[in-house]
Assembly symmetry: C2
Homo-oligomer: 294 residues x 2
């Protein structure tokens, strides 16, 4: 059995690698690298890279082989947050308790920092692919990463999101949006891990099922936390997100039913982990994500 890692060990490993993997500045203009690092090292939960490493490990693979892909997916997640926060998108001035990238560095540099993180994700993954003994697996992983991040995946979800702005939408549309916007990268994370770890076809299918259920549960819990946090802090009524007018699981289904569905999805995610022997860590992580308070 492969060495197990604790949550803290995983986070430390990922942060150390992310902190050291950006290129050095060779032409005297470090500002965009600073902006990249500012957003990348901003204390994220690192769920996606942890999934990549743990699925690789559960398949019997060496997590060192998966580390570059784990970092790459976190770079892509970070770029998407930088671009999402821009004034022409959500116009969010804060991110994880700090000024967003464009507030700290200006819009032009934030735009370029996002572009650069997306590009570097592929550069870094490809460099690592050349070092692996089986480049075919690595190319397969890069294909998964690019297709899940692109217009048929995460970016597609952002388009559905933009189109729905200020409207109430159906539960179907909400599910499509979330499965693309949040779910696609979570699926890529899990699936890349099984590809690098040379999992069986059954394990790859199980990883996809796990990710689909986890991704949706994650989004519903987010919606619930938005409402309960508002209630706790501001005494706002439970219901639709009044500021944006956007439909959420809570506005469409109510708090109680949303919670029940989130619990069911979490159970289904955990069940799909039956395809892996040493699945204790991921069962615990999945439960803790379902019951998280922020």
């Amino acid at each position: 059995m492969n060495k197990r890692y604790s949550l803290d060990e995983y986070i430390a490993l990922i942060n150390q690698k992310l902190d050291s993997c950006l290129p050095a500045c060779s032409y005297g203009e470090p500002v965009v690298l600073e902006a990249m690092k500012y957003s990348l090292m901003n204390g994220g939960k690192r769920i996606r890279p942890i999934l990549t490493l743990e699925f690789c490990r559960m398949c019997g693979g060496d997590i060192d082989d998966a580390l570059a892909f784990a970092c790459a997916i976190e770079m892509i997640h970070t770029y998407s947050l930088i671009h999402d926060d821009l004034p022409c998108m959500d116009n969010d001035t804060m991110r994880r308790g700090k000024p967003s990238c464009h507030v700290a560095y200006g819009e032009s540099y934030a735009l370029l920092a996002g572009d650069a993180l997306l590009t570097y994700a592929f550069e870094y993954a490809t460099k690592s692919a050349l070092a692996l003994t089986d480049p075919q697996c690595a190319v397969e992983a890069i294909k998964i990463l690019s297709s899940c991040a692109g217009v048929s995946g995460m970016i597609g979800g952002q388009v559905v999101d933009l189109k729905s702005e200020g409207k109430s939408v159906s539960l179907d549309t909400l599910q499509t949006m979330d499965s693309l916007k949040t779910g696609a990268l979570i699926k890529a994370a899990a699936l890349m891990g099984t590809v690098i770890g040379k999992g069986s076809p059954e394990q790859k299918e199980a990883a996809v099922r796990y990710a689909e259920n986890l991704g949706q549960a994650f989004q519903i819990v987010d919606d619930i936390l938005d409402v309960t946090a508002d209630e706790a802090v501001l005494g706002k009524p439970v219901g639709s997100d009044k500021e944006s007018g956007k439909s959420t699981y809570v506005s469409l289904l109510g708090l109680e039913k949303s919670q029940r569905i989130a619990d069911e999805l979490t159970q289904q995610a955990i069940q799909s982990l039956d395809a892996f022997q040493d699945n204790g860590f991921l069962i615990e992580l999945t439960k803790s994500l379902a019951s998280r308070k922020n």
Copy 2:
């Protein structure tokens, strides 16, 4: 000797492939795909993809193997133009005689169309890599593409450009900026062709030398055309670009010296083609780029 292609044949081949390679829309929101296609099929000169195909062919390779990489580099070039035109960057409302992407589709969709083209470049190249008999070569080509497009290449050049805005800069800074902003992708185009065509180490070096000289000559000719077009149309004085206050080769060196240097660089580019036997097409193309009128 491999089958030769004329300029028109190359452009037709590339346009046909670019027009058909974008993914189909699966979730009912085609707007971002339309925006991608709007910018991609906007009558560009296709210099970068032609270089990839022709260097592959001159090395004895099959241009079908290089076609996906040729398309990928044009997608990256196109994304960079879309993002460069955005209000937070150059705020250009026209591009090649048509409204820029953000004018036609709005800022949010233009941002996402750029992100999606960049991502799809890697997806498309990677898919093609999996179909090649030698994935190692393909991974090498993707590494070149990502590193030349990123913060140590094209994006780095955009940062130097932003930093220089409204200032006069030294010839050194101008050369650094151009070698990154324009030169890096031209280098990637030529080098990817030799990698997919399995050129010799000498041919790879020659391709890099060719691209460096061509890239700089191209930029100087651009600067000269800006001034001579202004003179012809508006009677504006020759010299610095008064509107932006930016230094150009012409403002730093004068028209005559700029033209002499462009001619020298073109000659050097042509000389480096000695490393290839069947180099007639590229010699002609290089000459025509140096003497172009737009």
